[in-house]
Symmetry: C2
Subunit: 291 residues, 2 copies
């Protein structure tokens, strides 16, 4: 007989309203039969996992157009959470309205300014539709549905149309179809191992953050720990350390699990060379999905 714990649905925290791209990422990460816990801010989302309110969180960590979300790297360092999965979600924007509304009825469209900017070609080709800024994408769908406006629409992901029983009247209206956001699945270390993710990624990956002393070649020596063991790096990024000019933290993703002998040796080698090393987690490499 299954225990109560394995029977209940996973509680997954995310930032944004119901129907947000982050909610869709959460569903891809753990499967659709989950309980989503929307949060207003990233801080509140991390807090919900740390204090046990949520089992895990789906946190955006980088976007192919906008770069790394440093804020979430910072929060990862402040909280004792571990990465247990990742997913790449293609950001597809849709024009969404009340059921029965025709494209020609729409005079105004609401969305987050970043989403509006990403649909600029569509908006320029349809000057009869006025663009209005809103706090977020999914929230714009909620508002036009709640207010019952038949001359207004919102730009958001397909999941928002589903959640608010709205209708997609123009699909994939974004300018650039190569717009991907990578989300990490985060859990408390003691809880992480028992969470089943929906990942198929055959390869294991490990994410680390480290600091090296401010000497020319210090990073080069640190990287030797991996290069000399033929460990592939899939991400490297430097970030200046506040208040310590010319000193940097490095984010590194590498192929292999932290328990594999070569990775284990490389990490122990890195610890000799670096001022600090933190392993953020080992997890299956990403699947890529449309939103």
């Amino acid at each position: 007989m299954a225990t109560e714990d394995s029977n209940r649905r996973l509680k997954v925290a995310y930032q944004g309203e119901r129907g947000a791209f982050s909610e869709e990422a959460a569903r891809k990460l753990v499967g659709p039969d989950m309980e989503g816990l929307p949060h207003r801010t990233f801080e509140e989302m991390f807090e919900a996992v740390s204090n046990g309110q949520a089992d895990c969180a789906a946190a955006p960590i980088e976007n192919s157009l906008a770069g790394s979300v440093h804020k979430n790297y910072d929060l990862l360092l402040e909280h004792d959470l571990t990465i247990i999965g990742e997913v790449n979600l293609r950001i597809i924007h849709n024009l969404i309205a009340l059921p029965g509304v025709a494209f020609s009825d729409v005079r105004k469209v609401y969305s987050h300014p970043v989403a509006l900017a990403q649909c600029e070609r569509f908006l320029r080709a349809n000057p009869q539709i006025e663009a209005e800024a809103a706090h977020d994408t999914a929230g714009s769908v909620r508002v036009i549905i709640e207010q019952g406006r038949r001359d207004e629409a919102a730009i958001a992901g397909a999941r928002a149309a589903e959640v608010y029983s709205a209708q997609i009247i123009a699909e994939a209206i974004e300018d650039n179809q190569k717009n991907y956001t990578r989300f990490l699945l985060l859990a408390r270390p003691e809880r992480g191992a028992s969470i089943k993710t929906a990942a198929n990624g055959a390869q294991r990956k490990t994410s680390i953050v480290f600091r090296v002393a401010n000497r020319p070649g210090a990073l080069f020596r640190a990287m030797a720990a991996f290069a000399l063991r033929d460990i592939d790096l899939s991400k490297i990024e430097s970030r200046p350390i506040e208040g310590r000019p010319w000193e940097y933290s490095f984010y590194l993703d590498l192929t292999g699990d932290r328990a594999e002998p070569a990775v284990l040796r490389a990490l122990s080698n890195l610890e000799e060379l670096a001022e600090s090393v933190r392993v953020l987690g080992s997890y299956p490499s990403a699947d890529t999905f449309d939103s």
Copy 2:
């Protein structure tokens, strides 16, 4: 006698409305006696410099909370422009209203959702003020001034208050004071040398982009070109290449001018090892200013 060309004011393109943080960065980069050319999009801003409408452009390239602006790296690769300067601007948000409006009069505040999110503590402490999303920060100031509303305010940089003759009624209301954006000054290669920047930075820097073959250790060998010559790296960032899984471009900033012998040799060494190398420019290292 000075030529007409050296007498006329520099035309500096930027993205955003008059009074935007980008305009302030432009003023710090070339001095306040410039002619700003506001553009709606980054594409239009790059185009204005490429086609000679503008002498140069001030482009945000990374933010200490949000990461690199990949979009502008992409546009740099698409256009034949060179980096001739850089500046770090601290992003300071202010509550701005019509002259004579008191803090207690304000019931609504407009700004870009990212700016609103960065002032969350202030907004939470002042629940009598309702936050409304808008397309951008400086534009919100323009709108409340144009409409003459005495119960509304906007969140934007100090430059916006100056430009629209508005009044700052609460200063530096952002949650995190360590919010810096780095801007690059870009020009056509043949025009770049004759543009005088306001920079004091004693040190020269060089920015490059390169690709290496997909082999473990390829990046390590590429970095050896610099490490073996004691050339300090101030930024390294990998970026996946679209449609070529496991292949990456690297952005690198290094200390020294491209004309210095050690840098010259390192770059020629890198060209042997890399599939492609592009030098984006050599320029004086950044000064840091408050916005």
